[in-house]
Each structure stands twice: as structure tokens, then as C-alpha cells.
């Protein structure tokens, strides 16, 4: 069963909760209170809806990808989150949390970023709403997403390189949480996905479910399959949630298979991980026998994460969503395919979703399939060019 909200302990079934240093707990409780209050306030909803329409460009189109449909023998529709301002779904959440930050009377925002999309979206919301903005980013991601680093700086944000561990999204989230422990009285942490301690997974889902709600309005039939990439899982949660529990729709979350599941170098937390606590929530995660967090691997910085939102963990156990994975190589091939067939360069994250559809096309024959095209691929062009030599 889908749950509109987590239980009193912030749990979706066995998953979620708040495992955070006590210093942060009062801020998390205040945040939940502020969120509930804002979300019930037509004034807040109106302000947000206005910005989503006029500034972000919502609703984003649903596009019928006819050439690729014909090639694959199915009916493929793309939910064009890549056309949202800043080029990904991330902005739905950052505008909403930015408005909430102001409502809470805080003037400063911190955020983490992997691919840089959430960092750019946060920097954008902060510029718009006149908030100070600091973004934590792993050094490896700074290297592979240099363009987004400069975009954040253009928008007036300060980017703090995170050198610990592998220098990717996991370390950036940890550094942001540490930074928040030290600044919690003045600062709001805009987390970028449906991860982290309660109330974040629930709140970010509420801010992202606009994707699926629009799709229900836009598509004049119930799709057979909805496919979305899953790193932390916010775009997938956003498009899935309104359909969860509808037995006519197969929901497919595509995780990063990296070099291949069998190599052990991947980001398939749901497929290959086990329950544990990462970044303040009980969820599926990649860990060793001693409970040490393992490094993930993906060609896509946004999927290079050893955990996943706790509500996805719940959906997995309940059988409400099917979680699969594709490799770096399959994703790269899908990236090229969409570019030459439809004239759309997708984010490498979104290319994972398409790669699964391409692989399973024979089984999906004649089906109506919606892919959440969660972001555009401009940020990945340089990396792909280097890989292609």
C-alpha cells in the first residue's frame, strides 16, 4: 500500500526515520512543522505554483518520441523534465525548499550536489529568493562536471570541494550534513533527493510528485509502463508516486549497473544492497559485513550513490515498484541513440532509463511506455566526448 505520509516516527514500513546527531534533531522537527504548515497553506501553494509555471516552465511537455517508438516497436513518451529551468527536475524541489527557507526566517542555504544539477538548481533558487548559498561537491564530481561548477558560481553560490573518500555524492551529502551541524541555527539544508532523515524523504517527494500529477493530466490513457532512473530517487519518486498502487501500471526504477553488477562496481543499492542507516535514514545501501558504507560507481555522477530514498526501499519490499539496473555502457549507447533519433541529448542519468527500455523492447512490444527524461545532457557532453575519444 502507498502511504500518503510516513508514520509518527517518520517511517515508511521499516524504512526512514531520523538517525541524526542530537544537535540537528530540533531543526528536523522544526522543519517538519514548517513544511506541514506551509503545505496546508493555500498562500504557499499559490506562490509555489506561480513560480513553477512562470519561472520553471511547468507543466513540462509530454513528447511522443515517434521515430524511436517505430524503431523499438512500442509507444514511447518522454516526460520532458529536461525542459524545466536549469535543465532537470531538481528545480521543483529547490524552489519549494527555498520558499520554505524564507518562511522559516532563515537567510542561508547549504546543499550537496553530485552531477551538479541540484547544486545549480539550488543556486538558482537562492539567487531568485535572495538567499546566501553554499554547495558541497566532491572533488571527482567537480572534475567531471566542471561546467556546472562554473554555473553555480555565476549564480552567486560558493562551491566547497569535498576531498574525503571517493570525492563523489556520498561524501558531498556527509559534508553538507556536517556543515549543517555547525550552522543549524541560521541555515537550512536543501537536500537534493528523497533521502536523508525525516522529514526530507517525505517533503521532497511531495515537492516532486508534480511530475506524475502532470503526466496523469497530460497523457490521455493510463500508460502500461513508467520508467525512471534511480540514484537517490527523487525524479522516480516524483513520477511514480501518483501511480503507486495502480496495478495496471508497471513502475520500473533503473539503477546504475556501473561496470556490471558482477564486478561489484555499481550503484545498485536496491538491487544489491542491504538495509542499514545512511545519511540519517534506514534504507537499502551498499555496505560491507561490518556496516561500513561502500563506494558506489556509475558513469553518471547523479547515480553514483551507495544509498537510496527510504520510500523506494519500502516500495521494493512491498513489490510496488520493480527495480532493475543497466550498465555504464548500455546507458552511454542509449545517450547516443536518443540524440541521433530524436534530437534530444539526455542526461546520463535519464539515459539509464532509456537503456532499460531499449534492452527490454521485445517484451514491451506495443506497450505505452513513459520515460521520465529527468534532465538534459549538456552537462555530460564533455565527459562523453572524452570517453568516446
Amino acid at each position: 500500500m502507498r502511504r500518503e505520509r510516513p508514520d509518527d516516527r517518520g517511517r515508511f514500513g521499516a524504512y526512514g526515520g531520523a538517525f541524526a546527531p542530537e544537535t540537528l534533531m530540533p531543526a528536523l522537527i522544526d522543519l517538519e512543522r514548517a513544511f506541514v504548515d506551509a503545505w496546508e497553506d493555500p498562500g504557499f501553494r499559490g506562490d509555489l505554483a506561480g513560480l513553477l509555471a512562470d519561472y520553471v516552465g511547468r507543466p513540462t511537455p509530454v513528447y511522443h518520441a515517434q521515430r524511436l517508438s517505430a524503431q523499438l516497436g512500442l509507444d514511447l513518451w518522454l516526460k520532458r523534465e529536461d525542459l524545466a529551468h536549469t535543465g532537470a527536475h531538481k528545480i521543483n524541489n529547490t524552489i519549494a525548499q527555498g520558499l520554505l527557507t524564507k518562511r522559516m526566517g532563515k537567510r542561508r542555504v547549504i546543499a550537496e550536489t553530485g552531477a551538479g544539477q541540484h547544486g545549480v538548481a539550488t543556486a538558482t533558487a537562492c539567487a531568485l529568493l535572495d538567499l546566501e548559498c553554499v554547495v558541497y561537491m566532491g572533488v571527482k564530481d567537480i572534475e567531471r562536471q566542471a561546467l556546472n561548477v562554473y554555473r553555480m558560481e555565476l549564480l552567486g553560490a560558493e562551491v566547497i570541494p569535498v576531498t574525503s573518500g571517493a570525492g563523489t555524492l556520498k561524501e558531498a551529502v556527509s559534508a553538507a550534513l556536517r556543515g549543517w551541524v555547525s550552522s543549524v541555527e541560521s541555515t537550512h539544508y536543501i537536500i537534493g533527493s528523497v533521502v536523508g532523515p525525516h522529514p526530507y524523504p517525505w517533503m521532497v517527494r511531495e515537492f516532486q510528485k508534480v511530475i506524475g500529477e502532470e503526466l496523469q493530466e497530460q497523457l490521455h490513457e493510463t500508460p502500461d509502463v513508467i520508467v525512471a532512473p534511480v540514484g537517490g530517487g527523487s525524479n522516480a519518486m516524483g513520477i511514480f508516486f501518483p501511480y503507486v498502487g495502480d496495478s495496471d501500471v508497471l513502475l520500473v526504477g533503473v539503477e546504475a549497473g556501473g561496470f556490471g553488477i558482477e564486478t561489484g562496481r555499481h550503484g545498485a543499492s536496491l538491487g544489491e544492497g542491504s538495509p542499514g542507516v545512511l545519511h540519517g535514514a534506514m534504507t537499502y545501501m551498499l555496505q560491507d559485513d561490518f556496516g561500513q558504507v561502500l563506494e558506489a560507481h556509475s558513469i553518471s555522477a547523479g547515480l553514483d550513490y551507495p544509498g537510496v530514498g527510504p520510500e523506494h526501499a519500502y516500495f521494493k519490499d512491498e513489490g510496488l515498484v520493480r527495480y532493475v539496473s543497466v550498465t555504464d555502457e548500455e546507458a552511454l549507447s542509449a545517450f547516443h541513440r536518443l540524440a541521433v533519433t530524436e534530437g534530444i541529448i539526455p542526461a546520463l542519468e535519464s539515459a539509464h532509463g532509456l537503456a532499460w527500455i531499449i534492452r527490454e523492447a521485445a517484451d514491451l512490444a506495443e506497450a505505452t511506455v513513459v520515460l521520465n527524461l529527468s534532465g538534459r545532457g549538456d552537462k555530460d557532453v564533455q565527459q562523453v566526448a572524452a570517453l568516446d575519444g
Binding site: A20, E22, M25, V181, V277, G291, Q292, V293
Partner: protein
């Protein structure tokens, strides 16, 4: 006659110091720093210099409450193969070598991975007296408190300067072995100034409970320790210890540095500032 439990040993430690009119000194060191064998030697040097007990950190890959120094120590220890099992072996050796009540400090995931009851039983079998879990708020502490109870160990729960009265009552009614009072808003690490939060925090806790109060986070010098001890029953000094070990050129140098620093801290707690 019932065997002495870990929680009894902690209570005995607080009582003995209380009889001397002073707070306890609990140095923290990450297990296996600089090496497994050398770290036993460092704990012994600190015991000889006047430590009342210890906090031994199980190295963790993702320590959300720790600043760069303790993070670095954890990374080094993990690289050197200090697993949870090795860390508990070390705890056993430290207790054998020093006879001091010893707390195991960890994050919640290694405990869950092993199973809460198994973890606490293994901590008890390592002769430790208690457990501190940095990312375990009182709200989620139920099964951990139950495991502590059945293994006779003391579990600390946290109060921070940001904790409001409602949460404070929640923490205190769970009757932890002691209250770990977080002296600074922030992660572990050295500070220039003594905490300005200790007096107010202690007053709020004391007005509601008799539980021992141990201050930690940011206590970096003998002056800081003395200032916090004026309001609490103990102080934990972590980063200032770990940094001295990481900076030392040899284990001899580390042992000498810790001996003189811990002596200084212990002396400061034995000559407290007069109450205001």
C-alpha cells in the same frame, strides 16, 4: 554476589571522582591509531597520566558528527584494517592494561549490521563499560537501551545546546547511564574559546535529573576542561588527543605528548575554578 556490570563501573567512576570533588576525565582515541599495538600503549600512557576512563572510537567510513581530524584518524584506521572486531579486541586489551572503565564510541550502522543485541553482548565481552552512538537520538534509542540493560552496559544519550525542553525531558526520562552534553553546536574539533553553553545546559539538566553530565565536543585545552568541569561530572577530550597522535613523528613522541597533555588536563580538573 552479582557480578559488577559496566553500568556499575561507570557509576563507581563518577562516585569516586565526586567524592574527591572533581569531574572525570575521559580521553577519546580512535581504535588502532597510530597502529593497533601502539594504540594500547597510548591508552596506558593516558591512564598513568590521570585519565579516569576512556572512549575508544570504532573507525567509521561516514562519521557525520566528526570534524576533519577524527575523520582522518578513522580513514587511517580503516585503511590499516581496523574492523569492528579488531576495535573490540583493542578495547579488551586497553581495559586489561589500564583497568579503566571504557566506552565504545560508534555510529549506528555498524551496530545494526551486527544486530543490536549481538553488538552489545560483544562490547560487554570486550570488558567495556558502556556505549556512545553519535547518530542515535533518543527517539530511536529504545532497542539500544534495552540491549544495554540486558548486557549491563551503560548507554549515553545526547543533549545539545539546540535541544529544547520537550526533547530534554524525553532524553532524561529514558535514564541513560549519563547525559552526553554537547558543548558546542558543531562537529568534533578544537575551538579557540571555552564553551559558553555549559553552564546553561547543566542548569537545565540538573533541574530535572540527577544523571551524571559529561561534556564533549570542542573541549581542547586544560582551561576549556576546567571551565566545563565546573558545571558537569565529566569531560571528554577527543580531537585535541587525536591530533597530537597524528602529528607525532613516532609513537614515543605521541606517548610523551599524550602523557603531558593528559597530566595537564587531569591537574586542571583537580583544581577547579570556584563556582560563580
Amino acid at each position: 554476589m552479582a557480578e559488577t556490570t559496566g553500568r556499575d563501573r561507570l557509576a563507581g567512576m563518577f562516585a569516586a571522582a565526586h567524592a574527591e570533588g572533581r569531574a572525570v576525565l575521559l580521553p577519546y582515541l580512535t581504535a588502532g591509531i597510530p597502529t593497533f599495538d601502539d594504540s594500547v600503549r597510548l591508552f596506558r600512557a593516558m591512564a598513568d597520566a590521570g585519565a579516569d576512563g576512556f572512549e575508544v572510537g570504532i573507525p567509521y567510513a561516514d562519521p557525520l558528527m566528526d570534524g576533519p581530524v577524527i575523520m582522518r584518524a578513522g580513514e587511517l584506521a580503516l585503511e590499516a584494517g581496523v574492523t569492528v572486531d579488531r576495535a573490540l579486541e583493542l578495547v579488551k586489551q586497553v581495559v586489561a592494561a589500564t583497568s579503566k572503565p571504557t566506552l565504545v564510541m560508534t555510529y549506528v550502522n555498524p551496530v545494526l549490521r551486527r544486530g543490536i543485541d549481538t553488538f552489545f553482548r560483544q562490547v560487554r565481552d570486550a570488558d567495556a563499560s558502556g556505549v556512545i552512538i553519535a547518530d542515535l537520538p533518543a527517539d530511536e534509542a529504545g532497542p539500544f537501551l534495552a540491549a544495554a540493560e540486558s548486557s549491563g552496559l551503560g548507554l549515553a544519550l545526547f543533549v545539545a545546546p539546540t535541544t529544547d525542553d520537550g526533547r530534554l525531558a524525553t532524553v532524561l526520562e529514558k535514564k541513560p547511564a549519563f547525559v552526553y552534553a554537547i558543548a558546542e553546536v558543531g562537529v568534533t574539533g578544537e575551538r579557540d574559546e571555552a564553551s559558553s553553553n555549559t553552564e546553561h545546559l547543566a542548569r537545565r539538566i540538573r533541574s530535572r535529573s540527577d544523571l551524571p553530565i559529561v561534556f564533549g565536543v570542542g573541549i581542547s585545552t586544560a582551561h576549556h576542561a576546567r571551565s566545563a568541569a565546573r558545571h558537569g561530572d565529566g569531560v571528554i577530550v577527543g580531537t585535541a588527543i587525536v591530533r597530537r597522535v597524528l602529528e607525532a613523528a613516532s609513537v614515543d613522541e605521541a606517548a610523551a605528548a599524550l602523557a603531558s597533555f593528559v597530566e595537564e588536563l587531569a591537574a586542571a580538573l583537580r583544581s577547579p575554578l570556584p563556582p560563580d
